[in-house]
C-alpha cells in the first residue's frame, strides 16, 4: 500500500490534507455540517435505534400489545389477561429456550441457512462475478440474467416457485414423473425437504446479489496488477488467487458480512411459502409471528428479537472492527 502501486501514492497524499477540523470552518459551514449530519442522525436514532433499544426493554415484560405498560412485577399463576404489561424478568428467555418447541429448530435452520450461503450461494455468486469480469462474450447479458431474481418482488418469487414445486401440478414433479397422488414429492410441505427447497430459491437470489457486489469490487482492482501477474506467466486461476483475491480483502469482508446478515435476516421467502411453520422455522419468523400476529406476545417476541439482535451483533462488530481499523490507520497516515 505504501509504495507498491503508483495509483496509491496520490491517494495517500490526498488523505494527508483531506480532513479539516470543524474549527477551521466558517459559521455558515458549521450550520451546514450540523444539518447534513443532524437530520439523518435524528431519523436514524428515532426510527431505528430507539425502537431497537425499546425492544430490549420490552423483552423483560409480559405484554399483549394492548393497553399500557407498568413497572409492576407479574403475578404468578394468574390468568394471562389479568397479567398484562407487567415486568416478567428473564422468563421470556427461559420459556423460549425450554418450552417453545420452535426455538431450537429455528436456531438450527438459521445455521443451516448460513452454512449453505457461505459454502454455496456466496462462492457461486463470486464465481459468476469472476467469470463475467473477464469480459467474455455476452457478459452484460449474463450479468442481467443472473441479477434478475434480486429485482423480483416477493410475491412473484413465491408464485414462481409454487409453479416449480407444486406436488400435483409443478414443473419438477411433472418432469420427473412424481406428480400422482401416490408418489408425489411434497417439496414445500415435507419438513425434511422444504428447508432445502427454499434454500434453492434463496441461493437463486443470493448468488445474483453477491455477484453484483463482487463485480463492483473486481472493477476497482487495478488492471496493472493483473497485467504484471500475467507477464510473470501466471494463468487466470493463479492470478485470481495470488493477486486479485488478497487485494480484494475489504470487499471480501463486505461480502461475508452481507452473507451472514442475509442469512440471519432471512424471512421473506419462508414467510411467503408457509408463514414459517412446519420445518421452515427461522428466528426472524418467530419474532414476527409473536409480535405481529393476531394475538401478540410482545414480550416473548421481543425476547426472541433480542436473541436475533445479539447474534447479528457478532458479524456487525467484526465488520465494524475491520472498518474502524482501516479508518484508524488512515487517520494515522494523515497525522
Amino acid at each position: 500500500m505504501t509504495s507498491g502501486t503508483e495509483a496509491s501514492t496520490p491517494a495517500t497524499a490526498a488523505k494527508v490534507r483531506r480532513r479539516r477540523g470543524v474549527r477551521q470552518l466558517s459559521a455558515r459551514d458549521k450550520v451546514v455540517v450540523a444539518l447534513l449530519l443532524g437530520i439523518p442522525l435524528l431519523l436514524d436514532l428515532a426510527f431505528v435505534w430507539f425502537p431497537a433499544l425499546a425492544t430490549v426493554l420490552l423483552s423483560f415484560t409480559k405484554w399483549n400489545g394492548v393497553g399500557s405498560l407498568s413497572t409492576k412485577a407479574c403475578l404468578p399463576n394468574v390468568p394471562s389477561i389479568l397479567n398484562n404489561g407487567c415486568l416478567y424478568g428473564v422468563q421470556n428467555y427461559h420459556q423460549a429456550a425450554t418450552i417453545y418447541p420452535e426455538f431450537w429448530p429455528a436456531v438450527q435452520h438459521n445455521l443451516i441457512w448460513l452454512a449453505v450461503f457461505i459454502l454455496f450461494a456466496t462462492p457461486l455468486g463470486m464465481l459468476f462475478a469472476v467469470l463475467i469480469d473477464r469480459g467474455i462474450k455476452g457478459s452484460r447479458m449474463y450479468q442481467s440474467i443472473l441479477f434478475l431474481p434480486v429485482m423480483l418482488s416477493l410475491a412473484l418469487i413465491g408464485i414462481i416457485w409454487e409453479f416449480m414445486y407444486s406436488q400435483n401440478y409443478g414443473l419438477i414433479n411433472t418432469v420427473i414423473g412424481r406428480n400422482s397422488n401416490s408418489n408425489a414429492i411434497d417439496w414445500l410441505g415435507n419438513p425434511h425437504l422444504n428447508l432445502w427447497a427454499v434454500l434453492v430459491e434463496a441461493t437463486w437470489r443470493q448468488a445474483g446479489y453477491v455477484m453484483v457486489l463482487y463485480l463492483a469490487g473486481l472493477k476497482a482492482v487495478d488492471p496493472s496488477l493483473r497485467e504484471a501477474a500475467t507477464v510473470d506467466g501466471a494463468n487466470a486461476w493463479q492470478t485470481f488467487w495470488r493477486v486479485v483475491f488478497p487485494v480484494m480483502k475489504p470487499i471480501n469482508i463486505v461480502i461475508m458480512v452481507v452473507t451472514v446478515i442475509e442469512s440471519l435476516r432471512a424471512f421473506d421467502l419462508v414467510y411467503i411459502t408457509n408463514k414459517g411453520i412446519n420445518g421452515l422455522e427461522l428466528l426472524s419468523v418467530l419474532v414476527t409471528s409473536n409480535i405481529v400476529g393476531e394475538t401478540q406476545r410482545v414480550g416473548f417476541g421481543s425476547a426472541l428479537g433480542v436473541v436475533l439482535l445479539v447474534i447479528s451483533l457478532v458479524p456487525i462488530s467484526i465488520f465494524l472492527f475491520q472498518t474502524f481499523r482501516r479508518e484508524a490507520s488512515i487517520t494515522k497516515d494523515g497525522s
Binding site: 394492548v66 418450552i99 418447541p101 408425489a184 417439496w187 419438513p191 408457509n274 400476529g293 394475538t295
Partner: protein, 451 residues
Amino acid sequence: MSDVGSSGTNGAGMSPSRRSLLRGIAGAAGLSVVGGALLTACSSSSTSPGSGTGSSGAAGGPVTFGSNYSDPGVKAAFASLCTAATASTGSKITINTVDHNTFQTNITSYLQGTPDDLFTWFAGYRMQYFAAQGLALPIDDVWAKIGSNFGPAAKQLSTGLDGHQYLVPIYNYPWVVFYNKSVFAAKGYTVPTTWDAYLALAKKMKADGMIPIAFADKDGWPALGTFDILNMRINGYDYHIKLMKHQIPWTDPGVTAVFQHWAEMMPYMQTGANGRIWQDAAKALETKQAGMMFQGSNQVAQQYVTDGAKLDDLDFFVFPEINPAYGTDYMDAPTDGFMISKKAKNVDAAKAILEYIGTGAAEAGFLKTDMWDVALATGLSVPTYDAIQTKSAAEIAKCKAVAQFMDRDADPAMATAMIAIIQKFIDDPSTGNIAALQKSAEDQAKAIYTS
C-alpha cells in the same frame, strides 16, 4: 363503487405531501436547508384544494367499514349488503377491503391504530378477547332493538365476557363432509353414519383408486377443524369448551383418544397435506379425484361457485357418530359478524347500520349473492337458498350446541401453537409422537394461559 370513492379521497390527501417533499428537495438545492424547506413548503400547501379528507366523521358523513371479505364472491355480497344498508339508513359507507389473512394478523395494531368505524370479525372467544381489551364498543342498545330477531345462542355468541353485546352476526356455516352425488351414485357408495362405516367407505374408495379424503393444511387452520370434530364426537361439547379454556390439560387421555382416532383415519387422507392449500384439495374433490372432504361450506361450496363447478352435484353429510353418548349432536359452525371499534368516529351512524344488518331482511339480501353460508335470524325463510344452504340450516338447527372453531374458541395464541403441533402430527402420527406433542401442547398452554 366504494373503492373508487375511497381511493379518490386518498389521492387527494396524499398529493400535497408528495409535492411538498419534492419541493423540499428542490429547495435544498438553494441556500435553504432540507428541513426548513420542508416546513415552509408544508405550511404554504395547506391551502391547496382537495386536502379535505372526509374522515372527520361529522354526523351524516360516511361510515368507514373495515372488511376482510376479500374473496370475489363474498366481496360482491358484502358490497350489496352495504348498498342496502345505505339505502335503509341514509349513511354512506366507505369500504376498506384488506386481504383476510393480513386483516386477521394485524387486528391488534389495526384496532389500536386508526380503525374504521365498523369492522368484520368472528363470534365467540375471538370476539370476547378483543372486547375484553377495550378495543370494541358495546352495542347493547343495538341488541335491544334487534334481539327479537335472533335466538339465545346467537345472542350468547355476540356477548362479551362482561355481559355486554359487541357483535351483530350475519351468517354461519357448517363444517361437514362434502362429496359428489354422481360419484356416490356411480360407485354405489352410501353415506356412513358410524365411525366404522366411515373408515370402511374410505377403504373402499382407496381400493377404487380414489383419494378417500381430500386434505390440505398448508395454511395451518383447516386441520384444526378435523381435531374439533373428532374431539366433539368422542368427548362432547363441554369437553371441547373446557379444553379450549385450558380447564382440561392437553395431556388428558381424551385428547390422546382424538389423536388416535385421527391416526386411524390418516391412511385414507390425502398425503402431503402440509404442502397443499385447501383450494387445491377442494379442486381434487371437484375433479372427482377425491371422494370426500371435511371442510366448511364457506370454503368448499364457495369454491364450487367460483370455479363454475357443478354445485348441484355437491352434497354433504355430518361427520359420523363415534361415541354414542354424543351421537352427532355437535359441530363447528363458525359465525361471522360485525363490530364497532372503540375509536369509531361515526358511532351513531355505525349503530344504525348494525341495526339494519341485524334484521332478517338484511341477512336474506346478503344471502342472495352469498350462496354458501346460512342466516342466523330465527324463523327466517330465505327463498334464494340452494340445496346446500337449505341442508346446512337444517343440520345446524338439529345440533344441541355448535362450537365456533378452535381458533375462535381458544386463546388465539394457543390456536397458533396447535397449528404447529397438528402439522407435526400430520407428518408423524405415531403413538410416541402423540405423547410428545401432547406434552408440548400442555407446556405451551401453561405459558399462554397463566404465567
